[in-house]
């Protein structure tokens, strides 16, 4: 309940918390886990409102256009918004410039997976197979994060791919991989973990510089980034600039790592945003919250607002060099 030291100082008793995905999904779960801890600290009730649609941009647009008085906050899928912008979607808010970022809750770490019964058991198998035919990749749609990842990382690895697009969500996309309709799919490690552990899917590639987790499923999975990563190796094999490949791989890692952000509308009063940033950080680092997240297998990669905002701004600028490649891939799908 409201206290004299709370950020909103009793002016606002009810905060609308916008979630860009349907209730019950991963993003929604983070919001509901965080709500009691953050609500107590800011002295206002938080009402979670799900506004799915348009890849998260409907909720993001509403958040951007709301009054910056603390009455509306929300959670953003930064890579999703950046992907939409990269693919030419002009109505999508810019996650780097259109919000007051209060903090980051989790980074996303992508993996490439195949069906467990696929003959493609390692990235070497994939590269070898790619010499004979195009590798078929399942993606949801041509504006999605996994499409952008697929296109750019494939180009880094010199892979000729065909995108199989039109699946409703990541679970349906993974079903296409499990059924053998597609060779590969790209998902966040966390979202695919249950299917990996049930041995429906096998991880072939980690779109990271370091191993994602001490999990046995990653024992034989290649790493994309780093000086010994697959991007650098492939650059050497193909006679390309290995350092540039490494830099591009790092850009992709940072793109995904922009993660889920807690945000407020732009031009928020500095004192208010500082206070909310502080309270959010306290909530996220509260041992009780962290225990609750661990209980439901939700990982956390916490960062303060300034750090998270600097991260997005940097990577958004770097990603612009991939725009021609992405637009060309989209045009192929649209033909």
């Amino acid at each position: 309940m409201a206290s004299s030291s709370s950020c909103l100082q009793g002016r606002i008793r009810r905060v609308q918390w916008l979630v860009p995905f349907p209730p019950g999904g991963a993003v929604d779960i983070y919001s509901r886990l965080l709500e009691p801890y953050f609500s107590e600290r800011i002295g206002a009730d938080i009402v979670v409102e799900n506004m799915p649609g348009a890849g998260g941009s409907i909720a993001a647009t509403k958040l951007r256009d709301s009054a910056p008085d603390g009455s509306t906050l929300g959670i953003l899928n930064a890579p999703g918004l950046m992907a939409a912008a990269l693919t030419g979607e002009t109505n999508t808010p810019n996650s780097a410039t259109d919000f007051t970022i209060l903090g980051r809750i989790v980074q996303q770490q992508l993996v490439w997976v195949t069906a467990s019964n696929s003959p493609l058991r390692t990235m070497d198998d994939v590269l070898s197979e790619a010499k004979k035919r195009s590798i078929v990749f399942a993606v949801s749609d041509a504006g999605s994060t996994n499409f952008v990842n697929t296109v750019i990382v494939s180009q880094l690895l010199g892979l000729d791919i065909k995108c199989l697009a039109g699946f409703l969500g990541s679970r349906e996309t993974s079903m296409a991989v499990m059924r053998g309709e597609a060779d590969l799919g790209s998902f966040t490690f966390e979202s695919a973990l249950d299917r990996i552990e049930s041995q429906d899917l096998r991880v072939l590639l980690q779109v990271t510089e370091k191993r994602i987790a001490a999990h046995p499923s990653l024992d034989n999975a290649a790493l994309l980034g780093g000086d010994k990563g697959l991007a650098a190796q492939r650059a050497n094999e193909l006679g390309r600039d290995a350092r540039q490949a490494q830099a591009d791989a790092l850009t992709m890692v940072r793109f995904n790592a922009a993660g889920l952000l807690i945000a407020a509308p732009p031009k928020m009063n500095e004192e208010l945003s500082r206070c909310l940033d502080e309270k959010l950080h306290e909530s996220l680092t509260d041992p009780a919250f962290q225990a609750a997240a661990a209980k439901v297998n939700r990982s956390l990669d916490i960062a303060r607002g300034a750090e998270a905002q600097a991260g997005i701004q940097g990577v958004a600028a770097e990603m612009e060099k991939f725009i021609p490649m992405i637009r060309e891939a989209i045009n192929k799908i649209r033909k």
Binding site: G24, A142, A176, R195, S198
Partner: protein, 510 residues
Amino acid sequence: MVEPILQAAWDGLRLVFSFPNILYPIIGTLLAMVFAFIPGLSGFTLMALAISFTLHWEPLPIMLLFGAFVGGATFMGSITAILFNIPGTTPSAATTLDGYPLAQQGEAKTAIGCSAMSSALGSSFGVLVLILLIPVMRQAILSFGSPEFLMLSIWGLATIAAVIRGSLIKGLAAAGLGFLLSFVGFDPRTAEVRYTFGNDFLREGISVVPILLGVFAIAEMITLSVTGTRTISGSAKVEQLTGSLWRGVQAVFSNFGLFIRSSIIGTVIGMIPAVGGTVASFVAYGQAVQTAKNRDKFGRGDIRGVIAPEAAHDAKDGASLVPTLAFGIPGSEGTALLLGALSLHGLVPGKELMNNQLSLVFVLIWSLFLSNWLTSIIGVALVNQLTRLTVVRTQLLTPIIFALAVLGAYAYKGRIEDVAVAALFGLIGYFMKKFDWSRVPFVMALVLGPLFESNLHITRNLHQLGRINFWTRPLTVALMILTAVTLLLPYVQGIREKRRQRQASEEDSS
């Protein structure tokens, strides 16, 4: 393999029916019934609210409660569909087609009795299939791919021809309009925005719920007002109503073949992720019309037009848990929220849950089963009170129902634009009715359009890439044959009818 399943089933049953556990499905059912009765609210809304309230609960009460939510909402939406032509849940829209005309003829009790029995038995069918599929549910789900989804949508679209009343051209045009509207918003493949005219609201597409509320509920209220109809049933007194609860219940058994076919349709479609009960209800209705010997009364108060969608609609409940439990893929909006509730408690669907916590899974199944029967029993117990509403003067009833429909449109997603959509389609629905344009093909095409479009592109790509061969996929071939039969059946029936009439006239003249 069978013994552990039977043991888990028994353990689950004991847990559900013990005290105080039994209170959860009872309370959950009552709450779901209230929410489903109010247009625009639904079991989905209740579950979304409940996720927050139950954050710190143990897994067992979560399963008990959410199982009841999934099962409890289904039947009550049919009550408003029958009494007021307002689908309380979107799948109930198919029940309005013959349920409401029955109420207009003073036969609301018959329709409600039929709906209650069909729902309870249909849900039992779905639960039975779910239990039987437990050992093979993963293989069952993996056997359905984009080609099967495509053929299912084509088959559903093919049944449109069977449900067109009156002019074929008008019916097909209505279907075309529904199809066109289904394309508004994001292209599922290319993410291009289509037919939004720069309007943010339309980027997500036009929601089905406000359209249904408009085309059925609001259109009907306008019709009642314009025609000056005194009461919905045409009777001024309850004593003048001719309906019979028992006659409605009996109708399910005397049309048992139809019930079984519809339950199978609901079960199969329920297992397809993200398709939902609306498709199941309308496809079942379409096949009911198509396979009927005498189809003249459909759309005018044919009890078979209540049996089919109700059986399909409820059978889907149990079946929609198959992809949910096997792979964590929701078979409907309700199961999407169920997944969320499970995730919040560290329960991950898939092999882990099915192998190590099967008794908890059975708690969910039995709770769903119990709540389906509870809603039917309670609905039947209230039938006298409910049917009284059909003798209330429409001057009193129409404004209330109109307000509920508007409230329902707004409550769906909290957007005023949805109210505008409902109002617009209310007018469109009124004129469609007035000028004899069938609304059923419009709704069927609207609902089936997205399923058809996305799977058409994926299937085409798969074929071009050489990843599939239609002729080696038995389910695809079976659905192709079914579609061909569906398209040819009207001609065969027409030829038989002409032959019969010729023979009859020859006999008369001799």
